[in-house]
């Protein structure tokens, strides 16, 4: 891969930390446009990580249950990092120019209350489906592109399951009219 410091110089407002190119959420489009202009990159992955603040992170425990004993939350502990609650949104670009090809991670830190970021579907067409998946599962809004619906989950699904405060619904029995009718007639 090309030298990350050189790449960072080409992207306005970028900062390199531990091999990751950090950019401001509002300048994601300009950053990716600048990288695309350098040539040889392919956007192949977008992913998000939910990081609620350490205090409000009962991981799998219901968010509303204030009376839940803290022991229920102890199974998954988040390291007591100073970082406030946020979403980490990562774009991965494959560098196809150099001989030793590797990928570059471009990361934006989003607000936890209302995570939103400008869409890069106009820069890379591959972002279209990838952004839809991130919205579907993690609930990050992508502004500046047409409306879109669920891609993996069913259309009437409520919530975004990969968020840490998502409560998995109880599994319901699949409706079976013929079974119910037989049961009512006592034929089972």
């Amino acid at each position: 891969m090309r030298d990350i410091a050189l790449l960072a110089a080409a992207v306005p407002g970028a900062e390199v930390k531990e091999g990751v190119l950090f950019v401001q959420a509002r300048s994601v489009v300009t950053a990716l446009e600048a990288l695309k202009k350098l040539g040889g990159f392919m956007l192949f992955d977008i992913s998000a990580v939910d990081r609620p603040s350490a205090a409000a992170s009962p991981s799998n425990a219901p968010a509303s249950a204030a009376s839940t004993p803290p022991a229920a939350a102890a199974s998954t502990t988040i390291p007591a990092q100073p970082a406030p609650a946020c979403f980490e949104l990562s774009y991965r670009l494959m560098d196809m120019k150099e001989d030793a090809k590797d990928f570059l991670t471009v990361r934006a830190i989003l607000d936890h209350e209302a995570p939103a970021v400008p869409s890069v579907a106009g820069v890379w067409k591959s972002a279209d489906v990838l952004e839809r998946e991130v919205w579907d599962l993690m609930g990050i809004e992508f502004t500046g592109r047409g409306p879109f619906g669920r891609i993996l989950l069913k259309d009437d699904f409520v919530g975004h399951p990969l968020r840490k405060d998502f409560i998995s619904p109880k599994r319901e029995r699949f409706p079976s009219p013929s079974w119910d009718r037989k049961a009512a007639e006592g034929g089972l």
């Binding site: 992955d45 992913s47 998954t76 993996l152 399951p161 990969l162």
Partner: protein, 374 residues
């Protein structure tokens, strides 16, 4: 005929919607395309996916690292053995585990045999979509031989749970390598028969050559990876370009073809199988003796960190992002699946194709729904 239907009858040509799938044999799973048709010409197409969504990324957050390993084979079930590879590399990065050399060779051997089996399925099912049943039996016979070999090593045929964090599960049984060499010869012979039967067939060529051409820049724009990218003339293969495991020790060529039409995408799989065979012979000749599994604690707690690993799976780049919080369960697992990105080009390329060309186009992209929906 035109005299019978007049404008006065109020009849006119109109477009209609055709739901192709999810229960349709040519969609290779539960893929659904919502097609707007003008007669038999596709006007627009929309991908409808998610029928096989099992919420794997969420499941991973509730179970331990070792427990999630067998789940990974259920993504791309046509190349099950290769699936845990990227996951295991990500875990090994997290835990700084050094994989024994013999285990790496075993991974390459099982992985490449699996790639051959997977490409054989693609070749067979693509011609099956054209109504050619006989060639399908040739490649499935060949695949059966490969699956027998895999079963002898791993114990299962399709959902092969062989790769583990730190190495592999089992060593080769006695006398396996000579058998594998012999089976490889017979697989290649069957493949040559298949090649002679199909690749020059006028109907097959007529329905694939010059249809649904994806140029190199387009393929990069849409994030297409794997054989479909190489069929568009781009020499990109992670095994060669960013070698993981022990791929840098083998001498093999990355195959490319110039046009990027349906025929090239078909032909490239054929060429790749022959290249895999070359690689496999080298690996089986030079496999060292030694351990097959590094010592990994039963209750495994990696340090709080993040790792990303990508491999060249049978269908393209498969990547895993694993975020650890220091406990026994992953904090977040994200999976980049090749098929999910590869089908993104279907709505762009479908308009103007006839329905039967659309079928051959989606067959040539070679996606697996378990890989798309996760």
């Amino acid at each position: 005929m035109g005299d019978f239907i007049t404008e006065a009858d109020g009849l006119e040509t109109q477009e209609f919607i055709l739901n192709l799938g999810p229960q349709h044999p040519s969609t290779h799973g539960v893929y659904r395309a919502r097609l707007v048709m003008d007669g038999e010409i596709v006007v627009s197409a929309e991908n409808k996916i998610g029928y096989l969504h099992r919420g794997m990324e969420k499941i991973a957050e509730g179970i331990t690292y070792a427990q999630f390993t067998p789940y990974t084979t259920r993504f791309d079930y046509v190349s099950g053995a290769m699936q845990p590879w990227a996951w295991c590399i990500a875990l090994e990065k997290l835990g700084n585990t050094a994989v024994p050399e013999r285990a790496e060779y075993l991974r390459v051997i099982v992985g490449e045999f699996q790639r051959i089996a997977s490409h054989l399925v693609m070749l067979g099912s693509m011609v099956l979509d054209f109504g050619a049943i006989t060639p399908w039996t040739y490649v499935f016979n060949a695949r059966e031989e490969v699956l027998d070999l895999l079963e002898a090593v791993t114990g299962s045929r399709l959902l092969i749970n062989y790769f583990v964090n730190g190495g592999v599960n089992a060593d080769l049984p006695e006398g396996w390598i000579p058998k594998a060499e012999k089976a490889l010869d017979s697989v290649l012979k069957r493949l040559d028969d298949f090649d002679r039967m199909v690749s020059g067939n006028e109907i097959f060529v007529g329905r694939t050559k010059g249809i649904a051409i994806v140029t190199g820049p387009e393929a990069i724009e849409y994030g297409i990876t794997g054989a479909s990218l190489r069929a568009s003339g781009l020499k990109f293969d992670l095994r060669k370009d960013s070698p993981y495991s022990v791929y840098d020790r083998f001498d093999f060529e990355v195959q490319t073809l110039p046009t990027g039409d349906n025929f090239d995408r078909y032909m490239l799989r054929l060429l790749e199988i022959r290249e895999c065979a070359k690689l496999l012979r080298q690996a089986m000749k030079t496999i060292p003796a030694g351990d097959i599994r590094a010592k990994v604690a039963k209750v495994w707690r990696p340090a709080a960190a993040e790792a990303y690993a990508a491999i060249e799976a049978a269908r393209g780049i498969m990547g895993y992002q694993v975020v650890s919080d220091g406990s026994t369960k992953p904090y977040r697992v994200h999976m980049r699946s090749p098929s999910f990105c590869n089908i993104g080009i279907i709505p762009a390329k479908a308009p103007g194709l006839t329905l039967q060309d659309f079928i051959s186009f989606i067959a040539s992209l070679d996606f697996v729904l378990g890989d798309i929906d996760r």
